[in-house]
């Protein structure tokens, strides 16, 4: 457990689970979750785009919930479980959504893709839990119908500068249809 009594300390040692592996890290407390993943744990799949929560390239899942890892300090996640794109699927053992991105040609440069995929996986869980969005017609309804408009609205936090949006939509629709 992080020692919170020592107030002159600007570094911290704590445990955090990343892709099912428990890690013990010692970092400058300014380290964002994104920089912990990339620079300390060597997990380069998660990308740094804007570093200000605007582009979504750094999206990861924390305890299954999608967040921008650039706008979070690593120390805030002590004891929590982080899933990055490396934990979603690797070459030879791809997640169905990764396969759908390949099948649909849902990227050009690929820089935003890890964030897009982690974001979409988090988004599908939000829909399963019945969480509404701005595109949800009936806020009181318990079940959300995943229309194209819902997918577009729910994925608006992930920018693709190559503008592969139509193919990203198709890839997500493929897997959402298969899961339903």
């Amino acid at each position: 457990m992080l020692d919170t009594a020592a107030r002159d300390v600007t570094r911290g040692t704590f445990e955090i689970t990343v892709n099912d592996e428990e890690r013990r890290v010692n970092v400058d407390l300014r380290t964002t979750l994104l920089d912990l993943l990339r620079e300390h744990l060597g997990l380069m799949g998660t990308k740094k785009g804007c570093d200000h929560g605007q582009c979504g390239a750094c999206t990861v899942l924390v305890d299954g919930v999608r967040i921008n890892s650039c706008l979070s300090l690593a120390v805030m996640h002590e004891g929590q479980a982080v899933t990055t794109i490396e934990g979603v699927g690797l070459p030879g053992n791809l997640h169905p959504l990764q396969t759908a991105f390949l099948d649909r040609d849902a990227f050009q440069c690929g820089y935003c893709t890890p964030g897009q995929i982690c974001s979409a996986l988090g988004m599908l869980e939000e829909v399963r839990r019945g969480e509404p969005s701005q595109a949800t017609e009936d806020l009181a309804a318990a079940i959300v119908s995943l229309t194209d408009e819902e997918i577009r609205e729910r994925m608006s936090g992930n920018i693709c500068r190559c503008s592969a949006y139509p193919q990203i939509l198709e890839a997500i629709r493929d897997i959402a249809g298969a899961a339903a």
Binding site: T4, L29, G53, G56, R66, L71, M76, R129, G157
Partner: protein, 314 residues
């Protein structure tokens, strides 16, 4: 980002006490606004008090038929709560119209209230800004001020409050519960939390040093229609150019001032039998444009009149 020390607050009163004792301390919850500003060194806290794990993440019924939303409930959790969706749809709509899903998953309702303006000159450390440096001058006054205030502004500051949630809370007449550095608790009306700029735009709220928001309390839902209308440059993930929260006979406007603007003049006009257009005219009579944002006055009149008429959005 400047170096800081960090602690996890043991309880809300302890957090408030510690914050008052440490000059330059800041509360950290979701961090989505604070960390962004820390990277730009616009916020330079020397000590962070993490309140994100305090037991303030519940949404509970109140004795009079309202809801108490704990300060560290996320924006997503508040908007997804069945009681909020069915009894306070204007609040759910306002929350869902703000930011992106990733940000709403992390940002708390307490932090939403305390977030700072998105004025581009506040964000640009190379430009004078009276919020960042009192007395430096306001760059927006003669600058690119298309998104800036049309009501309640001053020569010192023409910024707006960016919160959608707070606009809905104003129309719902929410109360904000806090704990102060002495451990005392108090409750403020939502409209008393934020200040207009006047000569001291760097003083943004009426909270004391160290005072921590612990909950937002909604009174029983008002009779009548609830709706949140937000006009912006793109359909999703963008701040508003104008927004209107309607909750029964009460209304509040967003993106027009440095605080959520309760439209009490329009409410009074409606109660006296004025038409929607007349009510909107009454509220906007004192509005002043800065040049590039003059359109907002017309926009506000039209959106308010249309909302009162019940004209569908599309």
């Amino acid at each position: 980002m400047r170096s800081f020390t960090y602690e996890r607050a043991p309880d809300a009163a302890g957090a408030a006490k510690t914050a008052a004792e440490h000059p330059g301390a800041r509360f950290l919850a979701g961090g989505t606004n604070l960390l962004d500003l820390m990277k730009l060194e616009i916020e330079r806290p020397r000590h962070l008090i993490d309140v994100g794990r305090l037991p303030l993440a519940e949404i509970a019924e109140t004795a009079d038929g309202g809801l108490r939303i704990g300060a560290v409930v996320t924006n997503t959790a508040a908007a997804s709560d069945r009681r909020v969706r069915t009894r306070y749809p204007v609040l759910a709509q306002a929350l869902l119209s703000g930011a992106s899903a990733q940000l709403r998953n992390k940002a708390t309702v307490g932090g939403n209230l305390m977030q700072r303006t998105r004025c581009p000159y506040f964000y640009d450390a190379a430009k004078p800004c009276n919020k960042r440096e009192p007395g430096a001058g306001c760059s927006a006054l003669g600058g690119l001020n298309r998104g800036h205030a049309i009501l309640g502004a001053s020569e010192a500051c023409v910024a707006t409050n960016p919160s959608d949630m707070a606009v809905a809370l104003s129309a719902l007449e929410a109360q904000v519960e806090t704990v102060t550095a002495t451990g005392a608790t108090r409750s403020l009306a939502l409209d008393e939390v934020h200040r207009l700029p006047g000569e001291t735009p760097h003083v943004e709220t009426n909270l004391e040093i160290g005072e921590l928001v612990t909950a937002i309390v909604l009174p029983p839902p008002p009779e009548g229609r609830q709706e949140y209308r937000k006009v912006r440059d793109r359909a999703s993930y963008a701040g508003g150019l104008f927004s209107l929260a309607l909750a029964g006979e009460r209304m509040a406007m967003g993106a027009v001032a440095l605080k959520p603007w309760r439209a009490s003049k329009a409410e009074a006009a409606r109660a006296a039998g004025a038409s929607p257009a007349e009510a909107a005219e009454a509220e906007l009579a004192e509005a002043r444009g800065l040049g590039r944002n003059d359109f907002k006055i017309t926009l506000a009149r039209r959106v308010m009149a249309a909302a009162l008429e019940g004209t569908p959005l599309r």
